[in-house]
């Protein structure tokens, strides 16, 4: 009945708009969609799907179903488990990693995967003519990858590194017989027509509209229940949520405001699961220690005491998220739960500032030291609503203790350049990390010059821990080092660590077996619950 009504209205709409009455073009979406297909929302379109040259998060979220790596991470424990590799051995000096491939694994075009593909992929990453800078960084210390026999490869490291197994095991692997045809790798035609070994294979790409994957019949693992995965590209989140409600999308990551305000009706809850999980990311305010103002630890600590993190979390993020006190992933063993975030405490902040020499001597309401006023600029990327509101709240709170803060917004490209040039006083940004993150790039003093240590954090003990960490293969000893490092960060406050906010996803109840794992959602285990007519 409802369906018919909508058809009639729909036809009316056409007649209205065009004074044309062709009923055939009109139809209710749910009656024509493939019930065994999963429709996923994509907020932006990837340029291509080459796992080596692509840097986009959307691309890797699609590629994980098409391509496989030697090792995978377990969905619940995030531990490394075999995927393409059947087994692996590590040499006594921990410089050589040998992987034995499973036999009979086929690329989706029917050619067998062999050691040559892995050697080829490695050489491609190392090739200076291949534009994959963000990936190259990880393979600097890998000297070579050698084919031992058709199903065995060996990675050779030039120095010991505790994450070597992960880095070797998760190297993106592309088919040599497809990409090694002599044409330019960066603009290869198969960048947009991937051939992989995973449970799904690429079917079609309608630019600006959708990307369709279909079940890979050559896949040797457990066959997924879903026949197709359709990624629909919808830039505007309000429209995407409306499409979810109309049944045109099954999976969507929603914004906090949508989570709180627009997905709580009885009807919505009956039709959709609301799922939350925390991924290894956090946002922060970074204080540039290379500037005299924030070189003093006491000043940075005072700033942290002046940021009312709990109130901001409630006000801006509807209380969704966890306040963090360090750089490691909140739910990893390396994160020391006994370290509590510094509380909001303006009185203590004032004391710390006074100790550091900042007093209001001329009575103008602004702190000063040696004739210099306490004034700085807060730099943020434009377009971030959170940063903007955070800035406004901080400006007001800081002015109460006599600190003058200006806000500068920059377009993302300019913002990134400012970071590279260390041209800022304070910034707000987020990091996305791996499950067990190597603090070297972010926190080692050598990285203050050209790496990601924008805030020029320099601490001799931390440097020492970071270097020891890289060569420590015993997990328990490593956790100890991580905890000590966490403590140093807490004391030094190079950043005011803010929040780890969860991914919030709505999923249609058409699917069964939907579970939240540590790593998030695994579409492969979903069952098509009911095929409604």
């Amino acid at each position: 009945m409802e369906l018919r009504a909508s058809r009639v209205l729909c036809a009316g709409g056409i007649a209205l708009a065009l004074a044309l009455g062709s009923l055939s073009a009109c139809g209710d979406f749910s009656s024509v969609r493939d019930p065994r297909a999963l429709y996923i929302h994509l907020g932006s379109e990837p340029g291509h799907l080459n796992p080596i040259t692509s840097t986009e998060a959307v691309a890797s979220s699609i590629n994980q179903h098409i391509y496989e790596t030697l090792l995978d991470r377990d969905y619940d424990t995030a531990k490394l488990i075999p995927q393409l590799a059947e087994s692996w051995t590590i040499s006594g000096d921990r410089l050589r990693y040998r992987f034995r491939l499973k036999k009979g694994i086929l690329w989706s075009d029917g050619v067998e995967l062999t050691a040559d593909d892995i050697v080829y992929s490695f050489k491609t990453i190392k090739d200076p003519n291949v534009a994959c800078a963000p990936l190259k960084v990880y393979y600097i210390d890998v000297r070579e990858v050698r084919k031992i026999d058709r199903y065995t490869v060996e990675f050779r490291y030039s120095k010991q590194y505790y994450q070597a197994l992960e880095i070797c095991g998760t190297i993106p692997i592309v088919p040599k017989h497809v990409f090694g045809d002599g044409t330019d790798f960066n603009t290869h035609k198969n960048d947009r027509f991937p051939v992989g070994t995973g449970p799904f294979r690429f079917e079609r790409w309608d630019t600006g509209k959708r990307i369709v994957l279909v079940r890979n019949e050559r896949y040797k693992g457990k066959t997924p229940d879903l026949h197709r995965i359709v990624y629909r590209i919808v830039a505007e989140p309000n429209i995407a949520l409306q499409m979810v409600k109309k049944g045109e999308l099954d999976v969507m990551s929603v914004r906090a405001i949508q989570w709180v305000r627009q997905t709580n009706s009885e009807k919505f809850r009956q039709g959709f699961y609301k799922l939350e999980y925390y991924l290894p990311t956090y946002n922060y305010i970074g204080w540039n220690a290379a500037r005299p103002l924030f070189a003093d630890r006491r000043v940075r600590l005072a700033m942290t005491h002046l940021v009312n993190r709990e109130a901001i979390l409630d006000k801006l993020l509807f209380g969704i998220g966890e306040i963090v006190s360090g750089s490691s992933y909140l739910y990893s063993k390396g994160y020391d739960k006994s370290i509590k975030p510094w509380p909001y405490d303006p009185v203590k902040a004032r004391k710390l500032l006074a100790e550091a020499g900042w007093r209001d001597t001329d009575g103008d309401g602004i702190l000063d030291r040696n004739g210099k006023k306490f004034a700085f600029t807060f730099t943020m990327p434009s377009g971030s609503k959170f940063a903007e509101r955070l800035g406004t709240i901080m400006k007001e709170d800081l002015s109460k203790v006599g600190i003058a803060m200006d806000i500068n917004r920059y377009e993302w490209a300019v913002f990134v350049q400012k970071l590279h040039q260390r041209d800022f006083d304070a910034v707000t940004l987020a990091w996305s990390l791996s499950w067990e993150d190597d603090p070297y790039q972010l926190w080692h003093s050598t990285q203050a010059a050209g790496g990601s240590n924008f805030c020029s954090f320099k601490n001799a003990e931390a440097d020492d821990i970071i270097i020891r960490l890289r060569k420590e293969f015993d997990e328990r000893a490593r956790i100890k080092l991580y905890h000590r490092f966490h403590r140093i960060l807490h004391e030094e406050q190079p950043y005011t660590f803010l929040y780890c906010t969860p991914a919030q996803v709505v999923v249609s109840r058409r699917f069964g077996g939907v579970k939240v794992h540590l790593r998030g959602l695994n579409y492969l285990e979903w069952k098509v619950a009911a095929i409604d007519d």
Partner: protein
């Protein structure tokens, strides 16, 4: 006439080089570049993704290490053989990306422009003839209200009301063609596309009426008080002939100036409308290219619209002569 045309056409070349050189220099000198940008996502950086040396190496790959003028010359040499280069984002030829987006934007713009002209010009003429009447006042009030409504708000509202499913379900939620309609016959496909385009066209047009109809009204009022109109009436010509032949033709001259902006305007898409209605058109293409510093795409779009602007101006100049014979294009010998 031919001499004039040749002269004008020859002048286009240096003007074009000037425009494109300035555009190129501006992108290159603007802070931020493609390679450095790739190190991070929007709003979030990937920890440890930056190595200065490796980034320098990659810059070389894209010619970003060369001086601006050399980079421009490289680009210009390829342009001469109509090669716009390869988009940094997806490695496809820029021409292919534009060819995908252009038809959508063109049809949207042409449809909405025709609607705007068909409604505004007669509306403006009537307003001028019945100056200060109730119709004149009410129509200008309504048109200015429409003009002031922001399109992102109207667009979202239209979608929520007419296709959200909560109220009415008359139109699709964005897109330009239904997934299942692509194998239909030509006619049915057109109907399906028109069904998708109805709301975006409304969003694109409603704000355009005010300007053009007020403009027509003003130029028409100028003309209608001239003595030759009085003469025409005195001769006993019908009111229709007076208005449409004598008055309207003369009021066309300022409208022709507007024509010069139409040609390049056809090419540009509205980022807002395109993103709300999920239409992969020129607006989004250009917008994303600029944010990503995708130089080949930016340069291609900029130079196409530069050429169209120059041609538009030329055509307008020629049209002046057509609508007003008193305007001579060349000095008499």
């Amino acid at each position: 006439m031919i001499k004039y045309l040749v002269k004008r056409l020859l002048l286009l070349l240096p003007t074009f080089i000037g425009i494109s050189l300035i555009t190129y220099a501006m992108i290159r000198l603007a802070p931020g570049d493609y390679t450095t940008l790739r190190a991070g996502l929007q709003g979030e950086l990937k920890a440890g993704a930056i190595g200065t040396e490796i980034i320098e190496q990659e810059k070389k790959l894209y010619g970003l290490d060369k001086p601006v003028i050399v980079g421009y010359w490289d680009w210009f040499k390829r342009l001469v053989v109509l090669d716009f280069g390869v988009s940094r984002k997806d490695g496809r030829p820029v021409a292919e990306r534009i060819a995908e987006a252009l038809p959508i934007t063109l049809s949207l713009n042409i449809i909405s422009m025709i609607i705007v002209y068909i409604i505004s010009i007669p509306g403006g003429i009537v307003s001028a003839l019945k100056k200060d009447s109730l119709y004149d006042r009410v129509s200008s009030l309504v048109l200015f209200i429409l003009y002031s409504l922001p399109s992102f708000w109207v667009g979202l509202l239209l979608l929520m009301v007419f296709s959200g499913g909560d109220y009415l379900n008359l139109f699709p939620l964005g897109g330009i063609i239904s997934d299942w309609a692509e194998d239909f016959s030509f006619f049915d496909r057109m109907v399906n596309i028109a069904w998708h385009l109805a709301l975006p066209v409304i969003t694109l047009t409603y704000g355009g009426f005010a300007f053009l109809s007020r403009y027509t009204r003003a130029t028409m009022l100028d003309v209608i008080n001239q003595q030759y109109i009085m003469t025409a009436r005195a001769k006993g010509l019908s009111e229709k002939r007076v208005v449409l032949v004598h008055a309207f033709r003369n009021s066309l001259v300022p409208l022709v100036t507007l024509m010069a902006t139409i040609l390049p305007g056809l090419l540009g898409g509205s980022v807002i409308v395109e993103s709300i209605f999920s239409i992969p058109g020129m607006g989004m293409l250009a917008f994303e290219a600029i944010l990503a510093r995708d130089i080949p795409v930016i340069m291609a779009i900029a130079s196409i619209s530069a050429v169209l602007t120059l041609l538009g101006i030329l055509i307008a100049d020629i049209l002046y002569g057509v609508v007003d014979p008193r305007i001579r294009l060349e000095a008499r010998q």
